[in-house]
Amino acid sequence: MPFAIRMGQPEMEALWLDLTTRHQNGSLDKEDQRLLKKLVKVLGYLSADPRHNSLASHEISDLTRKYGFKIFQSYLENNTPGAGRIFWAYGPDQGDITILALEPHPEDQKRGSYERLKLSSVPAPKNKTGGKK
């Protein structure tokens, strides 16, 4: 029986929603299309068999010790130096797998990410009135 894949809240869920919504709208750029394709493939394998050879899944014991439950890591690609990876855990219910994090973070790789930062508005300069003429 395949595992149900869930996304960790709030960031992984937001990331997944963003990717899938933009996929439906057709507004995904090439980088994100590639990421979504890899992610879907890996999640498919993970759902069918978390120990699938392609995933090279293994427990990260230091993270397990830190968070108090077993945390695993799987690779997004094979034979690729610096391939992306996902961190996941079993739960919250039996037969569930929750994706906790994705590396690299999509925003890290995008050029121009600073350009999308929202800047706060600059207060209008005060007009000095009542000065001596």
């Binding site: 996304m7 960790g8 809240q9 960031e11 968070y67 108090g68 945390i71 973070h105």
Partner: protein, 96 residues
């Protein structure tokens, strides 16, 4: 790989005794720590014959980028509260 260290608590007075027992060192001067929560310790041997053990971790924060670690921490905190998204549907992507 760098070894990360936990910050030493600002005051040792805050620590409370949770276990108190006597142990005997074996033939190789080894003692067992009961219920140790960390694998690695920094050991300080004091001139009065006491030993102070401080927990250390070998997870290098640099090995996982800060943003990923932040994402992992928030997801793990939610999962501990049994919170996660609804099961996702991969069929539209696999069929397409």
């Amino acid at each position: 790989m760098k070894t990360a260290t936990l910050k030493r608590p600002s005051s040792r007075k805050q620590a409370k005794i949770v276990q108190d027992y006597d142990v005997a060192a074996d033939a190789k001067n080894r003692i067992s720590l009961r219920g140790a929560k960390t694998k690695y310790f920094h050991v300080m041997a004091l001139s009065n014959g006491s030993y102070v053990l401080e927990p250390r971790v070998l997870v290098a924060p640099e090995a996982i980028p800060a943003r990923t670690l932040k994402m992992l921490e928030s997801s793990a905190a939610s999962l501990k509260k049994r919170q996660a998204s609804a099961p996702i549907d991969l069929s539209p992507f696999i069929a397409g």
